[in-house]
Amino acid sequence: MRRRHFLTLSAAGLGGILTYTLDGRVLRRTAKDEPVRIPLRFFTEPEALIVSAVAARIFPSDDSGPGAREAGVAIYIDRQLAGPYGRDRFRYTHPPYEDGPPELGYQGKATPREIYREGLKILKDFHVLSPEKQDDALHQIERSYFFKLLRRNTIEGMFCDPVHGGNAGMIGWQLLGFPGPRMSNVDDIEKHYGESFRPKPASLREVSGGKVRLSEDE
């Protein structure tokens, strides 16, 4: 069994109250709390630090609001890679593998886990670079399939239901003005024409009250 790895996140840097859902538990932290040590399921600690830093350049924390770091995107990606998605449980993986036109989609053999593990080697020590150097490094790889995957997974981790480990405190949804799985809009749909209507977001667990079955736990 592999040595346990943790990602340590500073609660102060996370911007106040947020919710992490890890191993089915809900943790609430405030800026005053101790740093959070989160057990990793797939990444090593150095890998998680790099992924966290890359996601923070893709979707930065800046004057338009919090970003991937506060949303816990690296935790989300770690859990996805540890689960069936990471090992291509639902992809057709019979050989022979041959290159085809782009219209036929990804034809490679490598699973998301393998793509990350290989790709992260190229980004060694990325997290200690200056933001400018980090952006330069990402421009070098931005046409690669690895970067496309990182970018796509960062978007997922920003805006998924918090039950998956990303979108902590529903900050991604708040940034977009998306209320989450709202049970009924029947009284509102024909009102608010031309003006923003922003109900307070609620997560799937809050709304359904039921036990949510997660693909990453299958």
Partner: protein, 587 residues
């Protein structure tokens, strides 16, 4: 392989057509009926806790498990086909209810002339006007013959809408171009999201005749003639790729299963993957003896039956006929054979993506709530001076608004694809983006077909289905025309910026278009050019029926489910009234 006790009827596939046939035959006769569904049964509370974009709409929880079985694809017979290793341009369902569980519920009928496409087009424009390599043909059934069955399907599902033509009387506000209807829709139109209201005003200002999208997501509490009651829509926005949490969206499991569940003569087996239809050929014609299937544990069974309904979606229907060696496979080089011919996929475009100044609140809506118009559909415009034939409908729905899938849709003025500038644009545009969709006809061509792949196999060792398909000039020119017209609508809607569809190049299996993929076991008036007669009965094997859009000779410009259900009801009626009394060919 174990042989199971004989039953009267075996139905392959537990989606719309399979469960509808099970309900019709099962509730009106005492026949013993077995339905075999390859996927799992759904738990009663599954959809309430399933409003999760990631697992359902990004990871595709309700779709076919591609690790077991996919298709291969090539653009022409000159290319080597490769497997579609992940979901893309269409989404086959799996599990009880099939794709009918995760559909949007858009429910328009086909225009009447679609059923006589070949003869009407040749009459008006001459045969020389058709593409040289076309394979279009008349269906062998007319709109007038189907009308009562369309009506029954709408009443069964409680479809919401506004009629535009009741027995020839045109009604403003409905679709004045639709074929005659025997009655008004069973429930009033659904509510209107802001984006769809903008679309309606713009379309009407341009002289088009918009009408509420007919919706199987019903607008009010509704009880159908079977006594099945469903609530009105709550506009939560989780329709496409999801099961409905309250059952407002009609699905096989909430509309048909409650009736079937009360019938002791119908049994449903889930996790039952059919591999072969067992049949024998003789000088008097073929006879199907039942099916072979595998359960979740990998055990193989022979289920003997007198009557076999193949109702496993376009692709599996065609593949099972090919694997079972029933009928002659189509050969595009010689034009011989019929099984697999006339593969089509609707021309579905985000014809114009509009970016607005004001927020749209687009999280509120349903898969079918909105407006559409047919002024440029079918032969409603004169094609004498146009570089293509036929056309399609323009639709302004507020569907597909969930954040992971939609946040990255940005105007061309935004060039960054990551970083602060991109993020800022995303946060601004997410709720200011809407689409004018185009849904167009797709002709059948001699070179577009399905056969068995020579290389790639499924998890059981059977060859995958191979699709050979590409866009031709008619679709490309139609798409160009549609993109221009949609852009005019978006301008009239007051969009600040518009992304016009950049054109159909070669068929892109990674761009989701629709799950309206059709053909392979097409219907027709003669066995030389079709697999089934207009009762969807196999020409050479009369105790085998092949239900679903596999029977469409070519693709009309509307969502296929209403026509699929109408054809299934027509078949059920013919089986009940004629076949069961005197088994044999119905046509």
């Amino acid at each position: 392989m174990r042989t199971l006790p004989h039953v009267d009827v075996v139905i392959v596939g537990g989606g719309w057509t399979g469960l509808l046939m099970a309900k019709e035959l099962g509730s009106r006769t005492g026949l013993s009926i077995v339905v075999l569904e390859r996927g799992a049964a759904h738990k009663s509370d599954e959809y309430e806790s399933g409003m999760d974009e990631l697992d359902y709409s990004i990871r595709f929880r309700m779709m076919q498990d591609l690790s077991l079985d996919t298709v291969t694809f090539r653009h022409s017979t000159k290319d080597r086909a490769l497997p579609l290793r992940q979901h893309g341009s269409f989404l086959p369902g799996t599990g009880m209810g099939g794709a009918g569980e995760h559909w949007s519920g858009v429910f328009p009928r086909f225009l009447p002339d679609c059923f006589e496409l070949y003869s009407r087009t040749v009459d008006k424009y001459g045969v020389a006007r058709l593409p040289e390599d076309h394979a279009i043909q008349d269906w062998g059934v007319t709109y007038d013959e189907l009308e009562p069955h369309y009506m029954r399907a709408e009443i069964l599902l409680g479809v919401s809408g506004k009629a535009g033509n009741i027995r020839g009387k045109k009604i403003e506000g409905g679709n004045i171009f639709e074929g005659w209807r025997s009655a008004e829709y069973p429930t009033p139109p659904t509510k209107v999201p802001y984006f769809s209201e903008l679309f309606r005003e713009a379309a009407d200002s341009l002289g088009y005749h918009s009408y509420p999208v007919p919706a199987a997501t019903t607008s009010t509490l509704y009880t159908n003639p079977d006594g099945v009651t469903r609530p009105g829509c709550s506009y939560c926005g989780f329709c496409e790729n999801f099961g409905c949490m309250i059952g407002a969206k009609s699905q096989p499991t909430n509309t048909l299963l409650p009736v079937i569940a009360k019938r002791k003569n119908v049994s449903i087996r889930s996790n039952a993957t059919v591999r072969r239809i067992v049949h024998e050929a003789s000088s008097k014609g073929g006879k199907s003896r039942g099916v072979i299937y595998v359960n979740a544990a990998g055990q193989e069974f022979f289920q003997p039956a007198d009557l076999v309904f193949l109702s496993s979606w376009t692709l599996s229907n065609t593949r099972l006929l090919l694997l079972s060696r029933i009928g002659e496979p189509y050969n595009p080089a010689t034009g011989q054979g019929t099984v697999g011919r006339n593969l089509t996929h609707q021309v579905m475009l985000n014809a114009a993506t509009a970016f607005f100044e004001k927020p749209l609140n687009r999280f509120m809506g349903s898969g079918a709530s909105g407006f559409m118009f047919n002024d440029l559909d079918g032969d409603l415009i004169d094609h004498e001076a146009l570089p293509f034939l036929r056309g399609g409908a323009f639709v302004g729905r507020s569907a597909r608004a969930l954040p992971i899938g939609e946040c990255d849709v940005l105007p061309k003025s935004v060039t960054a694809t990551w970083g602060s500038e991109w993020k800022k644009a995303m946060l601004h545009y997410y709720d200011r983006t809407g689409r004018v969709n185009f849904i167009g006809e797709h002709f059948a061509y001699k070179g577009h077909y399905m056969d068995l792949d020579p290389t790639y196999k499924d998890s059981l060792g059977d060859p995958l289905l191979r699709l050979t398909l590409d866009w031709q000039e008619n679709e490309r020119k139609m798409a160009e025309f549609a993109a221009l017209k949609a852009t005019e609508v978006a301008q009239a809607m007051g969009a600040k910026e518009i992304s016009t569809f950049t054109g159909l190049k070669s068929y892109d299996a990674t761009r989701y278009q629709s799950s309206h993929i059709q053909g392979g076991a097409i219907m027709g008036a003669t066995p030389e050019k079709s697999v089934v007669n207009t009762y969807l009965q196999h020409w050479q094997t009369p105790n085998l029926f092949v239900l679903g859009a596999s029977s469409f000779p070519q693709n009309a410009a509307a969502n296929p489910t209403p026509t699929i259900l109408a054809l299934t009801l027509r078949t059920a009626e013919a089986v009940l009234e004629r076949y069961l009394k005197t088994p044999g060919p119905l046509a």
